[in-house]
């Protein structure tokens, strides 16, 4: 992909976002904390409808980068657009056009399944009739219809994760950010979750996902691997394995991450 020849998305002129086919474009995105450079001039694109794996060791700068992309942290330098909107000046529009799911803070444990969906629907500004209709479809797809009035805190972890993912898609965002969405679940449930990801991507939703499971990295269309705040590798799993002469993404990852100098000291 020849990203340098592409005109920059301006966001202001493009209210629908990402019409040139990019869900994320970042140019020299940088974040410093004092003298520490957590994210160091990263440049990458994510195509619309792509499943993009964002990998890196603990402390490599992934979380800081994601926080900037979803509008929770201002960059020190560089530019980025998400769904066509500028992460510096259009944070509100970004928040309305993205979905976000983290392993820890997604659903309210002491609300029921139905109440969680209604709450998030309300936050995203969906009309009550619309929420009601989406709720029924969602529960049916997930096989959770008979659990609509159960407290979310009492559902098994794998079901919580699937529900949280569906809730993150409730307002039909152009791009959804998933931060370690499958931690701790059994291998079958993990694969079912990835089938939900593929289904969403097949409908045109861009999926931006982090994971510590290296087999899941292989499920992505393209992946980037962050080391010491920089993107050390970027490409399809097949391209990266060829480039590094490795059998698996796990090998590529370990080789790159072992060269890290400041990860652990962060």
């Amino acid at each position: 992909m020849n990203s340098s020849a592409r005109p920059t998305v301006t966001g202001t002129a493009d209210a629908t976002g990402g019409t040139d086919g990019f869900a994320v474009d970042a140019r020299d995105l940088t974040r410093r904390f004092g003298s520490f450079v957590a994210v160091d001039h990263i440049t990458f694109d994510v195509k619309a409808g792509e499943v993009f794996g964002f990998l890196g060791a603990n402390g490599a700068g992934k979380t800081t980068a994601i926080k900037m992309l979803v509008g929770l942290l201002a960059p020190s330098e560089g530019v980025a657009h998400v769904a066509g909107f500028d992460i510096r000046t259009q944070r509100d529009r970004i928040r309305r056009n993205i979905g976000y799911m983290s392993q820890r803070f997604s659903l309210y444990a002491d609300l029921t399944v139905r109440e969680n969906i209604r709450l998030y629907g309300g936050i995203y500004g969906l009309a009550p009739e619309h929420i009601a209709k989406r709720t029924d479809t969602m529960l049916e797809t997930l096989g959770l219809s008979s659990n609509a009035d159960d407290l979310v805190g009492r559902l098994p972890l794998g079901w919580k994760q699937k529900l949280a993912f569906s809730v993150a898609l409730l307002h039909e965002p152009k791009i959804v950010f998933l931060d370690e969405p499958t931690g701790g679940v059994d291998p079958i449930t993990r694969r079912q979750f990835w089938e939900l990801i593929y289904t969403a991507a097949a409908r045109g939703t861009t999926v931006f996902v982090t994971t510590h499971y290296m087999d899941e990295a292989e499920y992505c269309d393209r992946i980037s691997i962050m080391v010491d705040g920089r993107i050390a590798a970027l490409g399809s799993p097949t391209e990266l394995k060829e480039k590094f002469g490795a059998d698996s993404v796990d090998d590529v990852f370990v080789r790159l991450a072992r060269s890290a100098t400041k990860g652990e000291a962060a």
Binding site: L155, Y213, M214, F253, E264, A266
Partner: protein, 320 residues
């Protein structure tokens, strides 16, 4: 050789949830034993019973020949336990955490230093940093140092690698290998199937039940159905096609391939692989590679869990 751990018909329920259901297993002295299973499988409950923090409803267990109910006081001083989530004191420094754990066991950091040195030296430069400010990999090293500082006879590690990146995970397992070489018995739980390969033996655990106990390389040997790896351009499309194949028992994403299990136990894997190639060709899906493969731990785990999709969940009381 005597057994460092003996578990007999152990049962423990929390309300309607059977966290452990008739669990029996032995761990030999000096063994590196893995407990492999997802969240909610019963791993933590088993650890809490073995560390005498929880009393079983039924059955019995011994650790180092001591009964977990009657001899709980004796067991506690001889066991090194690293709970899930590392359980460090966030507002104490690295050095203070270590000193605290040494003091609780009536010893000093100096007396345990030789044993912990290979691990602790890596975080010693940060000895004045508060534990809450450490990275995942550093917390893990500190927690392991704290579990070892009183020189225990057995180490019980509950998901020490969860949430830790692939590099730190490998280093951690290298360290466990070194500790094992020094003669220590280690029982370690993990949700990562690939880590099972680093153990002498593993127990696959799911839904409170032990599915199988074997050396990691023997586990796949019990997989009797034909298993075929399928590789092609559009994986999601291939997955959906394969599920429609009349003899399909299970089809799963697997790294950069798909794993297909045929329901005909008497079919040869080579013949199934050839049949699948024809099937894809007849559907106009070209350039699909199929080849028979031997089952790995994850294949076995999924087969033992049951290839049928799980029923809709019943609300469960959350077991710790």
């Amino acid at each position: 050789m005597t057994n460092a751990v003996e578990v007999r018909a152990l049962g423990k329920s929390f309300g309607p949830v059977k966290a452990l259901d008739d669990v029996s297993l032995d761990v030999s002295e000096g063994e590196l034993f893995g407990l492999v299973g997802p969240d909610g499988a019963g791993k933590t409950t088993l650890f809490r019973i073995l560390t005498t923090l929880l009393i079983p409803d039924t059955g019995s267990a011994t650790v180092l020949g001591l009964d977990v109910v009657k001899d709980f006081w004796k067991i506690r001083s001889r066991v090194g336990y690293m709970p899930g989530g590392f359980a460090l004191y966030p507002d104490l420094s690295v050095a203070e955490n270590l000193e605290f754990f040494a003091a609780v066991f009536g010893t000093t950091v100096e007396k345990g230093y030789e044993l912990i040195a290979p691990i602790y030296k890596q975080i010693e430069p940060f000895r004045d940093r508060r534990a809450e400010a450490l990275s995942g990999g550093m917390k893990q090293k500190l927690a392991l140092s704290c579990a070892l500082v009183h020189r225990p006879d057995i180490l019980l590690l509950d998901e020490p690698t969860t949430g830790v990146d692939a590099v730190s995970r490998r280093e951690f397992w290298d360290q466990l290998g070194n500790l094992k070489a020094s003669g220590l018995t280690i029982v370690v739980s993990t949700p990562y199937m690939d880590e099972a390969l680093r153990c002498d033996r593993v127990a696959l655990i799911h839904g409170g039940k032990i599915l199988e106990v074997d050396p990691p390389h023997s586990i796949g040997a019990r997989y009797t159905l034909p298993l075929v790896a399928v590789r092609g351009a559009n994986r999601f499309e291939l997955l959906q096609s394969l599920r429609k194949f009349p003899h399909a028992r299970a089809v799963y994403l697997f790294g950069d391939e798909l794993h297909y299990t045929d329901r005909r136990s008497d079919a040869s894997p080579e013949a199934v692989a050839a049949e699948l190639r024809e099937y894809f060709a007849s559907r106009g899906q070209e350039d699909v590679e199929t080849r028979p493969i031997a089952a790995g731990i994850e294949d076995s785990f999924m087969e033992l869990m049951g290839s049928a999709p799980p029923p809709p969940p019943r609300p469960t009381a959350t077991a710790a």
